[in-house]
Amino acid sequence: MALLNRYDTPAFLPDFNAIPGQLDAWHRAVSAWFDQVIANDQSAFGASPLQYYNAPNFDPGGMAVEQAITWNAFPKEMLRRYGRDRALVLADRLWPTERYGSPSPDPDDTAGTAGVLYRPQEEYCEWHVLRQPDSNKICRVTFSSEPPEYWQAMFGLVPGDPDQHFPGDQDALLRLYRDLVSPDVQLDDLIAAEDVVDTAGQVWALKGQYNSYNKWNTTLGIAHLNSPPNSLVAEIQLGADATVRYTDPRGRLLVEPDALIGYAGYGGSNRNSDPTIGASVNALARLGAYVTLRNPVGLYMDHIDLSGWEAPDKRPIADCVHIVRGVPQMVERMSIEVPASRGFDVGDLTIAGIPIRFGGQIAECITVKLVGIANILPKPISRPPVGNGSRPIVDPFYPRTVGGVSASQPVPPGFAEAYLNQGTVESAVFPEAAAARAKLAAAPGADRGKLSRHGKRRY
């Protein structure tokens, strides 16, 4: 008997309840995403069963243990790249999509050309800052961890390969936008009048479909996540990839977070989230456990740490924190706003004595999480490891961030291989792993994309 009857909506959000067939369609879509990443990874990494399962379809047995994995909401890559002072400024801004994956080393160079903008907040939690027009003081910061797929489903289509179709209810979508973002939202604002394409040729929304990059989810407000790596599908994919055991180029079993993600290539090395999600899942898989994501599969704000927060009237600040959607420990939308009766703004609050001038100061206090389940088996699974698909690189003379090239590529001039000989278990050597990986990579049809929107890899 399966462990789960049906995948529920993130945080059991109720918007689909009144749409006939929508809840079933959501379950089928989430289940299909699991099935697809499992099939893809089994194909990519060899035929042995993946230690990742789709709970409605498979019961691995054993003792199920929940493992919450938490990370900080402020984008670490920006901290690494620009330092905290500049990162706080930049993280509040929208960035052009052309910059995604290759941000400029110049912290002032964030200009876009095609007007497709996204929030560069790549830790599965994004925010929008509203300021007083006269003083520029912050009056509200709204945070969201809602995946774009949920909103696309409400429209009726989650694009992908294959597309996932839903009954949808565009009026309900419009109502939700009006409730959460602005009463001025029009349905046409949410639909792409033409293909939304940036100057790099990347398609971000198809004509006639829901446009996650609409003005009410970028310049004028926030409805849900829209940073390219922030999606439910990416979460499911990362979980699957991280159950695979990897070796470094010498065949030593990789075990530590940085070396693992750098050589496996399963996420963003410079983030808070991906290295720790990957390493946490991988550690459970190395124990021989089966792993999945707990229902409802989602990305959540766990809590906000209010230590050191102070209001000018010295009264408690709990009434300035509003969980708008979700519940404590499973928060999907939260706003920070001072009740009008108190007579001051968010910008007048202080954290450790410093006035709040950027949304990122609040993000630093927010913990984001997902919850995994590990099934500890009486007879642990020992899946053979695979070699490295990637090679982490670092500029040794300006070592702020870690980059990567394919395992088959040489280290570019001016760079050094990062984590060389590190993050492995000395006693666990699998010299055959790299050769097996290379053979799989050379096999026909090996160029399998990950689940994606419009063909774009989602890490």
Binding site: V65, E66, Q67, A68, I69, T70, W71, N72, K76, R80, V255, E256, P257, D258, I261, N270, R271, N272, S273, P275, T276, A279, S280, A283, L284, R286, L287, H303, D305, L306, S307, G308, E310, P316, I317, A318, I351, A352, G353, T367, K369, A374, I376, V394, Y398, P399, R400, V402, G414, F415, A416, E417, A418, Y419, L420, N421, Q422, G423, V425, E426
Partner: protein, 541 residues
């Protein structure tokens, strides 16, 4: 040499910088790790004449502050003497360190405002709420009630006198006191800290302290083997040789502790960008956090006894005792033996063996590392414990050093960048009956820790560890809870209750919760520890 050759060579050799040992204070590098200390807090009037006298005093003192070179030489002499047979030589002269609060620095140089640390500029008392300290003005732990560093009673300068014997420290402290008096400065705080006579090296709850200190990646001279932190791993064992001093002792780039030197990069073997030395005279300086923590030993152990008795009624916890519970909360047994290596009972031999007592992993099975001395670590090796079943994620040692695990701030560099060097010592007489009620305590509860921590950034190291990891129930990782040993909880509506998760023999989860305040902050301050040159040529001029 081509660029490619240079980078290849860098990877292979992990070169380490030669540190300016005659300019860095010894309290910062290699750190005073002395069993006896006296802390002297001094204040000076803010009038021009007094400031001139203050500067003259500092100028005269600059040559007497213990340098890194002197402190390292002292440590090496001590180790040789300890290892040698026969009568011990007389105790060396006590070491002397000096640090300034922001207020004190401002009296000496207008450039003080340029130091980029917001925490330092505000001071410990102002940041107390952020650290989770009691907000109730009536609470003993509220800054208003502190014995040192209370608002309005700030100190300008903290002297740290540290030595191998109480007599040596007293002698140097007395000489210092005479000079302070002569300079017209006022001593506003004076306290002795001494290692426990009954359990040397153990803090007042009874646990071996300071087992896990970071080592410094750097050399004391041009000699390629003149490492500031002694290396114990066999040369052939790479990368471990480049990663650790003692097995498990992380080597951090000097910029983690000293300003103006390479700090952590994403790859621990590649030097990161230098920690900022702004203004320039702050180069070779450090920050010192002093925190006077009173420990209510009776309350701690009575709570452990009571909670252990409650837990023992639960399936999977039948064998739990107060010592077992307390050891889970610390992450080490009283001897210092890590619970990950010996989950069922303390092993004093392991606790006493520095070549083994800090060698363990959290996420993977560990194995012995070849050592230079040929010593073979035959104690049980730690087993993978990613979920904190053996060593809970809320355990103190796991909260402040995530080792090979990921954390809420990513990979291993997050933990490297947070490390600090602890150079403090216990104060007060130990409590003979650890369960004693207050009325049966001859010391009236006056015992604890004079916590002294060296770092390059108070904001990113001490404060981050305290507020973001020890005081947060879900960071750095779950299933966790608060650091019950040292952490505080000031979340609204939670009544300062701290709670954590521990596991039973059958992986049953149980929660431990308490609002008992057995760690009470009773004073301290944030200090800048200048280089010798800055003391002589900037602050003393």
């Amino acid at each position: 040499m081509s660029e490619t050759q240079a980078t290849t060579s860098m990877q292979a050799e992990t070169p380490e910088p030669v540190l300016p040992m005659s300019d860095i204070q010894g309290i910062a590098v290699p750190g005073f790790l002395k069993p006896h200390q006296t802390l002297v807090g001094v204040s000076t009037p803010n009038d021009p004449g007094a400031v001139v006298a203050f500067k003259e005093f500092l100028r005269g003192l600059a040559g007497e502050i213990s340098t890194a070179a002197e402190t390292l030489a002292d440590r090496r002499r001590f180790r040789v003497a300890k290892a040698a047979a026969g009568p011990k030589p007389p105790a060396a002269k006590a070491l002397l360190g000096i640090g300034f609060t922001f207020q004190g620095l401002q009296k000496l140089t207008p450039g003080a405002v340029s130091l980029p640390s917001e925490a330092f500029r505000q001071g410990l008392a102002a940041r107390s709420a952020f650290l989770g300290d009691p907000a109730d003005p009536a609470d003993e732990g509220n800054p208003k009630n502190w014995k040192v560093g209370a608002p309005g009673r700030d100190i300008d300068v903290l002297f740290i006198v540290a030595g191998d014997t109480r007599a040596a420290v007293d002698e140097r402290a007395a000489a210092l006191a005479g000079r302070i008096e002569k300079a017209g400065l006022q001593v506003v705080y004076n306290e002795n800290g001494d290692v426990r006579e009954d359990l040397p090296g153990h803090e007042q709850f009874g646990f071996d302290d300071g087992v896990s200190q970071p080592g410094i990646r750097g050399r004391a001279s041009d000699d390629p083997n003149d490492f500031v932190t002694t290396r114990h791993i066999a040369v052939s064992a790479q990368p471990e040789r480049s990663l650790f001093g003692y097995p498990g002792q992380d080597l951090v780039w000097p910029g983690v502790l000293v300003l103006g030197h390479p700090a952590t990069s994403p790859d621990p073997l590649i030097p990161g960008l230098p920690s900022p030395a702004v203004p320039e005279w702050s180069r070779n300086g450090s920050y010192l956090v002093f925190r006077r923590l009173r420990q209510d030993v009776g309350l701690f152990w009575r709570t452990m006894r009571q909670e252990a008795a409650r837990l023992a009624a639960l399936p999977g916890f039948e064998d739990i005792t107060d010592v077992v519970l307390a050891s889970r909360i610390v992450g080490r047994w009283p001897s210092g033996a890590p619970v990950n290596r010996v989950p069922l009972a303390d092993d004093p031999d392991l606790g006493a063996q520095p070549l083994a007592n800090n060698h363990f992993r959290f996420d993977s099975d560990a194995s012995a590392i070849p050592l230079q001395s040929g010593y073979v670590d035959k104690f049980p090796q730690s087993k993978a414990d990613p979920a904190g079943v053996t060593c809970p994620w809320a355990a103190h040692i796991r909260k402040v050093n995530t080792r090979d695990s990921g954390s809420d701030t990513g990979g291993r560099d997050s933990s490297y960048a947070r490390r600090l060097m602890r150079v403090g010592v216990a104060f007060g007489k130990p409590l003979a009956d650890r369960y004693a009620e207050p009325e049966d305590d001859p010391g009236h509860g006056e015992r604890g820790l004079l916590f002294l921590g060296i770092q390059a950034s108070i904001d990113d190291q001490f404060e981050f560890l305290t507020a973001r990891w020890m005081g947060d129930p879900s960071r750095p990782k779950m299933p966790g809870g608060h650091d019950l040993l040292v952490g505080q909880n000031d979340a609204p509506g939670e009544g300062r209750q701290r709670r954590c998760v521990i596991f039973g023999a059958g992986v049953q989860q149980a929660s431990v919760a308490t609002d008992a305040p057995w760690i009470i902050p009773t004073g301290g301050g944030y200090f800048f520890v200048p280089s010798i040159a800055a003391l002589r040529d900037v602050l003393g001029r």
